[in-house]
Each structure stands twice: as C-alpha cells, then as structure tokens.
C-alpha cells in the first residue's frame, strides 16, 4: 500500500555528502514504487521555498537559523507550527528522520509522534561514548528514540552502536545498508549504460599487469584526522620506497592536507604522488578509474560507501578494519589492515603482489557490486519497515518472535502491534530516560502536546489546503517486485 512519507533532515542538496545522496536516492526509489515522498530540510543559500526535484520529489526548504555546518539551532518547539502545516497539507503518514546530528530530524520525530504519525529514524554515523559532545548527542538521541517506531542503521556495527546509545530494543532496529548507483561507477573498460542488462551480457576482458607496469593507488577522502590521514602520511613513503612502480593519486582536501604536502616535500615524492585537491562527487569516478588499488585508511566509518564505489569502479580495495567496513565487501575484493602503519604497508604490499600475479579478477567487481547493492533493494527493505510499523505486516511477522514471548516484552506496545500514541504511554516511555532527563523529557512532551492542542484550535485543520500530488508514474514492474517483496 502506498504511503505518504516525509523525509526530514538538516542535510540535503545543494549540500554535497553521503546522507544527502542517501535521502535523495531512497526517496526517488520509493517514488518509483508508488509512494509519495517529500523532503523537509532547512533553507540553504539560494535554495529556499518549496521546490520540486526530478521524479516529482517535493522539497520544503524551511527558513531556519543555521548555526554550525548546516545544522540548525535546536529550538525544541519553534519548528512545530510549520511542520504541522506541512504534514497536514501533504497528508503525511510516516515521518522518516535522518542523521543523529540533525536537530531538525529529532524535533520532527517528537512532533510527529505528538500528531499521531508513524516515525522511522535512520542513523548514518558512529559515535563514541567518551567525550562530552557525544554524551550530549546520545542523550538527545535517547530522548528522540524513546518514542520512535523503528530505527534503521546502515551497518551492523552501527546498529550495535545505536542500540547502546539510545537504549533501544535491538529488534526494533533494522540494518539496511547504503547503496551505490552502479551506473555512475563503472570501470573504464565497461560498456556505457544502458546495455541490455540481462541479454547479451558482454564478458569484460581481464587486464593483465606485467611485473613492471605502473600500479596506481587512489585515495579519495576528506583529509581529516578521523579519515586516517596520519596513517596515510606515514605509510606512503614506505610503500613507495619498497615498490618502485607504484604511483599515488590523492583527491580531497581538509586540514591534514598540509601534513601530506610536507611529507611529499621532505621525501621528494612529488613526481610519484599526485594531489588533486577537492573533487566533486560526480568526478570521483573519473579519478577512481585511473587507478588499480583503492586505499582507505579511515579510523572510523559507519558504512564506507566510498569503498563500494571504488570496488564498483573495478579497484582492488585496501582498507582499515574499523567500524562497519568489514561487513561491506566480500573478501576477494578487499585486503584488510589493522589501523597501524606497519600493517597498512604490509596489506598494500600484499594487494600489489596479488595484482601483479593477476590473481584478482577486478574486471568482475562491477557486476558483482551491482548485484550486492542497489537502491531499489534498499527502497524495498525500507518499505517493509514502513509496512511493519503501520501494522500492515503483523507484529509477529515483522518483529519475528514467538507468540509466547510477546507477553513478556510488548507491555508498551499496543495490541495492534504498533506503538501506542496515547500521551500517558508516551510519557511512560520518556520517563525511563533518566532521573532528571526523564522528567525534563516528559515536560517537553507535555508542552509539545499543549502546543499541538493550541495549534489545533487556532489554526484548524480544515483551513489548511491539501496539496496536490505529483502525477504518479504507472508501475511497470509491479508483479516482479511484489514477488520479491514476498520472498523477503
């Protein structure tokens, strides 16, 4: 059944980034599947008001105060009137928030629950438990997620992290990975799309590397500390010293770029290491196809879309074994290293040796990655989450536990298999958040509810125009998709 979904996040186009493209791709695919999707974000420079993107994706750029790196100032209630207006006029049923640093998303989830809507939250990043900023974010996350219907994480590590941070029931957290648009990341030798995908599938030719051919190692990453630039700075001279026919291409910018440049000058490696500076996302593929190995020295990563993109471009991936990275790619595409300089050098050496002996069939990577990750698949799995929280799937089906177990833990769930909207039930959930925090959260929820009553009285629903929907496409692949959904 089609839903009306609102994606809420601080991060959306025109700002570049992973979360932004995730929201866009997911929304597009959901629209293709017959749902209605709108995106609510804050106004960007030169991008205000209500806009339509391709495929009829409607974007509300709400005017709001931006404080730091595209994150709005967290005013708990000021977003409510306009959010309510949008939700009513678009007849939204499910509010889907993205990114745990976005205050917009947290507020939207709170208000949506007050208004009696289903909520989903997608977490894209990993957080520690030690520093003060993380503690604050975690408390906020706990507040929001106390009363959310379902949470989606991009990797299993991310799920563990989110479950711990927000004290969630692990069963209400689904793991749905990111995906890549494989067409945009095809190797150089691969025929351009669209060929008939299932018909005359041409077998890519294997490229042979002689022992003296130059192997190019590509690094595409923002040059920050947590992207492992220090490891890179330490490892590059050693890799270049032990392998004479190796070159580096480094794309990206950041505060650590200066360290990299110093290293190049100290070791006089300018002719073997090419620094490209910042590269737009559309150009990443053109950089990647110039190389044979992709080196990813990151220190923390929830999913690591870039290594999937690299593998899709037919690059052999050398990456550190941190965060969710070990889950992302199969073993024959990657060489894992510990986040240590010695191990990284050794792993790169191993990768170079494997390429030289032509043991790795990188030309097959693209088609394999295309089968592993697709946004259509992500949209299907997300749709199943929507089905589960709105009661289309039975509770047992969706949460997957035995009926005997149900009594023991569904005390706060309603009988319908979905979370109850009653204020007292919501307050119970928030109250458990902590000695002081619980009371504070309850206060916030009560104020939010009063505000809702106030708005219902002074801005009645029947005075809000219902927006017209974008004309829908006719679903072509209806039957085939449905079959697959059933299988899942």
């Amino acid at each position: 059944m089609p839903y009306n979904i609102a994606m809420v996040s601080d991060y959306f186009f025109p700002q570049p980034g992973g979360i932004e493209s995730h929201i866009y791709q997911l929304s597009t695919k959901l629209i293709d599947r017959g749902h209605k999707v709108i995106v609510i974000t804050h106004a960007y420079e030169g991008r205000t008001g209500v806009r339509y993107l391709t495929n009829g994706l409607k974007v509300y750029h709400v005017p709001f105060l931006v404080i730091y790196r595209a994150t709005t100032f967290p005013t708990v209630f000021s977003f409510f009137p306009i959010f309510r207006n949008i939700v009513i006029r678009e007849q939204i049923e499910i509010v889907h928030g993205h990114a745990s640093l976005s205050s917009f998303c947290h507020e939207a989830i709170l208000h949506a629950r007050t208004m009696g809507l289903r909520t989903v939250f997608t977490d894209h990043s990993l957080f520690g438990f030690a520093d003060a900023a993380s503690i604050l974010t975690n408390k906020l996350l706990k507040f929001t997620l106390s009363d959310v219907d379902h949470v989606i994480c991009v990797s299993h590590t991310c799920k563990e992290n989110t479950v711990l941070r927000a004290s969630l029931d692990p069963l209400m957290v689904s793991v749905i990975p990111n995906a890549v648009v494989a067409e945009n990341f095809r190797p150089l030798s691969h025929p351009a799309y669209p060929p008939s995908e299932f018909g005359n599938h041409m077998v890519p030719v294997q490229q042979h590397l002689g022992p003296h051919d130059t192997i190019t190692i590509v690094v595409v990453s923002r040059l920050f500390y947590n992207k492992g630039t220090d490891l890179l700075v330490a490892a590059i001279p050693r890799i270049l010293a032990s392998h004479p026919h190796v070159r580096f291409i480094i794309a990206g910018s950041g505060p650590k770029a200066i360290d990299l440049e110093q290293m190049l000058e100290r070791n006089v490696l300018q002719d073997r290491v090419e620094m490209l500076g910042p590269v737009r996302h559309e150009e990443v593929r053109d950089v990647m196809v110039r190389g044979h190995i992709y080196l990813h020295p990151s220190l923390t990563e929830a999913f690591g879309t870039v290594i999937v993109e690299a593998a899709s471009c037919g690059l052999y991936v050398v990456c550190t074994q941190v965060g969710g990275i070990p889950e992302v790619l199969p073993n024959h595409m990657t060489v894992f290293a510990k986040p240590e300089e010695d191990d990284l050098v050794a792993a790169t050496g191993k990768a170079i040796a494997a390429l030289r002996s032509n043991k790795v069939r990188t030309e097959n990577f693209h088609d394999q990655v295309k089968k592993m990750y697709s946004w259509t698949d992500v949209a299907e799995r997300t749709e199943r989450v929507y089905d589960g929280i709105s009661g289309v799937l039975s509770e047992a089906d969706f949460y997957g536990y035995d009926a005997a177990d149900a009594a023991s833990w569904s005390a706060t769930r309603g009988r319908a298999g979905v979370q109850s909207f009653a204020l007292i039930d919501r307050l119970k959930r928030y109250y458990g958040c902590g000695i002081w925090a619980g009371k504070l959260f309850c206060l916030c929820v009560v104020i939010d509810y009063l505000l809702f009553m106030f708005l219902e009285f002074f801005a009645p629903r029947d005075e809000i125009d219902i927006a017209r929907n974008w004309p829908k496409k006719i679903r072509v692949e209806n039957s085939r998709r449905d079959q697959r959904t059933f299988k899942r």
Partner: protein, 492 residues
C-alpha cells in the same frame, strides 16, 4: 519501547556482558530455497563465481563456514569456540538453513531487524583499561598532593607571621636558605651517586639553559631552572630534546600538541662535553653555574625589592587577599602532580604549560603578598622564600620521592606537622603569655596534632571514597570507536 535496562553497576566489572533481555528474533517465514529469479548475490556466490547462482552444491555449508571464518576476522576465534548452534533457541536452526552472518553484501534470508544472540555486541568491551585501585597505594599517591598543599600553607603562615611581625623575616629566609642549601647538597650527592653507578650515560649539561634564561627575568629563570632539573633528572635519555625545548617551552608546546610530529631531535648533541673533559670538571662547572644563577637571583631580588614594596600601594588589601587566594588555588589545581616515569616517555611538551602556569601563579601570588609588607627587607625575604618554596622545593620533592620512599614519607609528615603547627600558632595566641597553661608552643603543638589527624582522615576518606566511586565507572568501547592509529614515528 522500554528503555533497555542498563546492566546495574556492579562491583565486579570484569564479568561478561549480561545477555540480551529479549529473546532472539526467530525467523518465522519458512525458508525458501534459492530461486531462479533472484538478482542479488547469495553468500556462496562469492566463493563459486563460476557456478551459476542456482546451483546448490553440498559444499555450500562448508563454503559458508569458510566465508565466516574469513570475513569475521575480529571475532571468529571466539565464535567458533562457542556452541552457537546449540544455543540458538529452538526453531532457529530447524526452520532455516544457513547461519546468519554479520555481513551486508550478502542477501540473507533473515529479516533486517534480526538480532543474532551470539554475535550481537560481542566486541563490546566495558572498562577495558580499568585498574582497580587499592587503598594503600592510593593513600601513598595522595601524599604528593598533601605535600604541595602543606608547602603552600607553610608559605602563607610565614607570610602572616612576617605581616603580623611575630617572626623575623631574616629568620625565615635564613632557615629557608639553609634548608635549600642542604637540599641542593643532597640532590647533588644523589646525582653524583647516580652518575657513578651509570657511567655510560652521557652527563647532562644544564648550564646552557640556565645561562640563557638567567638574564631574562626572575620567574622565567626559575621556571627553566626547575624544568631543567626535572627534565634532566627524570629523563636521562632524552636530555637533548629537553635541552632544546627549554629555550622556548611555550612555542615547543604549541608546535607539538596533539599527535603530530614529535619535536625533531637535533641530529647531533652539541651540548655534550667533549670526550676528554673529565666527569669532575663537568660536575664542578655545573655547581659553579648553579651558584652563579643563585647569586644572580639574589642580587636581582635585592634590587627589585624596593620596587616590589610599592607595587600595589594603590590597591586595597581586600583585593590583594582575594587575588592571592585565587592564585594559590590556581597553583594547587594546576600543579603537575604526575610522577616522573610517566612523564619522561610521552613528550612533556604539552604538559609543560600547566606546570609553568602553576609556578607562575604561585610566584605572582607571593609577589603580590610581598608588596603588602612595609619594609624592603621583609619584601626581599618573602620573595626569596617564595622562590625557594615554589621554584626549587617541588623539584627536590619530586626527586626525593623517586630516590627514597622513606625520605618521602618523613618529609610528608614533617610538612603536615609543620603546616598544622603553623596554622595553630597563627590562629591561637601561641607564645604570647596568656591563659592557664602558659606554654608557648601549646597551640602550635595542638595545631600540629590536629593537622596530622585531619590530614590522615582526609587522605584515608578520600581514597576510600574514590575506590567506592570506581564501581560506577562504566566505560564502553567497541568497534564504533575511532581507532587509534599506530604510527612508527622514528621512521621518517
């Protein structure tokens, strides 16, 4: 959602993670064999790339197991050790073939919210670096703080004594100087002993920094003096780095903050004495330079005292008391209580700043206090005494603690008794001839006893409290934490 019951804080922290409160997700769909219309990969496809995906070979199970072994590099050893198949609640393995794998790239026949009981949070570590404190070592470590607080108290008591003109300033500075000289003598003897036991180590030359900074200003000189001694003594092997860092400790601190490159060690060691210079002449030159700097300080202070005397004439006394209180608080809070061995290994560049802040605060406080005194002699005495107490005494204390534990304890008890006695003398009208038991040192003795008792109680109580608080420590580490890169720094 019920907020997940956080495991109750328990005294035994090293116990394994409590199991999940929910039962594991049981797969409820019947397992469908791999159908022909699927477009996503299954785990076995990765191994048998040549084979068409629909082929169900008997090797699939083995392949899947292999895959798990190769792809779960962190936890395979543990997992295979456990009896995960038996542990799985009843219908799990019966209804579904294939085990769940913590992988994203395979199309698994489990629902997305499936939570594997065995592997979920298996890499979670709680309090991995926890060292349970013991009572007596904690008490012993707290003596460092007690020593410093006591020396501050003694200084304040001396000031009050001079201010109320009960004690002659000359007596104070005289005894102080004698004690300092004795301490220096002892220290020199210890250094000599150490060098004779370790003849291979290249001797430390601290003459250069002393000379270089002696001309700048009093506080700077003392600071570098103290640092020079501390660094030179505590880290024998990194003396050249410490020497180079002494020239500009602040700029060094800025350039080496964080985890960036270490201060580049000088390629050669120009400060080393030439090989033919004997050990004795080196030691003698060291002593000479120390005496020289001492004389320099002495005369500088003598010259500055009249200026210092009128420094704060236009400020009211209340402000001065408040200010000096604040400055002493800064001194106590920012004092470097760290033990020397831990400092010598990781670069002390960034740690120098709070230490110098502490010393500077104390010297400023004493300068401000001294400016309240009426006569030049008093000002000079107090300032000199403050330099001895705040500049040189900490260095001696640190070294003494390293050298002899017994001496350290003795010093601590003397300091505690002295501080308590001093406070008692100041508060009571000790020795002024009033009262029944007119014994001049009565209130002093009483103060000393009370001080020792209170200090003992506080030390014990605080240690016990800290140990009690430790059970609330709940530090969570896991694969989501940013990894700490291990970089061999000496490589480039």
């Amino acid at each position: 959602m019920v907020p997940n019951p956080a495991p109750p804080p328990s005294a035994t922290i090293t116990e394994p993670l409590p199991p999940l409160t929910r039962s594991t997700t049981l797969p409820l769909y019947s397992y469908r064999p791999i159908t022909t219309d699927r477009t996503l990969l299954a785990p076995e496809d990765a191994i048998y790339q040549g084979s068409p995906p629909r082929k169900q070979s008997p090797a699939v199970a083995k392949a899947a197991r292999d895959l798990h072994m190769t792809n779960g590099p962190n936890g395979t050893a543990r997992v295979s050790g456990r009896t995960r198949h038996k542990d799985r609640p009843r219908s799990g393995s019966r209804r579904r073939k294939g085990t769940w794998k913590k992988l994203l790239w395979v199309n698994q026949s489990y629902p997305d919210n499936y939570t594997d009981q065995e592997t979920f949070l298996e890499h979670l570590q709680r309090n991995p670096r926890l060292q349970p404190y013991d009572f007596w070592p904690l008490v012993a470590d707290s003596t460092i703080i007690v020593q410093h607080v006591c020396s501050v108290i003694i200084f304040v008591v001396c000031f009050v004594g001079i201010f109320q003109e009960r004690v002659s300033p000359v007596a104070i500075v005289g005894w102080g100087s004698i004690a300092t000289f004795l301490g220096w003598f002892l220290w020199d003897w210890w250094v000599g002993q150490e060098e004779s036991t370790k003849p291979s180590t290249t001797p430390v030359s601290t003459s250069t920094p002393l000379d270089a900074s002696a001309s700048s200003s009093v506080s700077n000189l003392l600071n570098s003096n103290g640092n020079g001694h501390a660094n030179g003594l505590s880290s024998k092997h990194s003396h050249s780095a410490s020497v180079s860092s002494l020239y500009s400790s602040t700029s060094n601190g800025h350039s080496t903050n964080g985890h960036s490159k270490p201060p580049t060690p000088p390629p050669n060691h120009p400060n080393h004495p030439s090989p033919n210079s004997s050990l004795l002449s080196h030691r003698t030159s060291l002593r000479l330079s120390t005496a020289k700097s001492a004389l320099l300080i002495y005369f500088t202070l003598l010259g500055l005292s009249p200026i210092l005397k009128s420094l704060t004439r236009s400020t009211s006394s209340d402000s001065i008391w408040t200010m000096s209180l604040l400055l002493f608080a800064i001194n106590i809070f920012f004092f470097d209580y760290g033990s020397p061995p831990s400092r010598s290994s990781v670069g002390g560049g960034s740690k120098n700043i709070p230490a110098s802040l502490s010393t500077n605060a104390a010297l400023m406080a004493s300068t401000v206090l001294a400016s309240r005194l009426p006569s030049t002699g008093q000002v000079f005495s107090l300032t000199l005494f403050s330099i001895e107490v705040f500049g040189l005494f900490p260095v001696f204390r640190r070294y003494a603690r390293q050298r002899s534990w017994r001496g350290h304890v003795t010093l601590t008890s003397f300091l505690v008794a002295g501080a308590g006695g001093g406070v008692g003398l100041i508060l009571g009208h000790g020795g002024d001839g009033n009262g029944y038991f007119d014994w001049p040192w009565k209130s002093g003795l009483l103060g000393g006893i009370i001080g020792v008792l209170v200090t003992g109680l506080v030390m014990g109580g605080c240690s016990w409290w800290l140990i009690g608080l430790q059970k609330y420590k709940n530090e969570i580490h896991g694969p989501w934490d940013p990894a700490r890169p291990v970089i061999r720094r000496d490589d480039y």
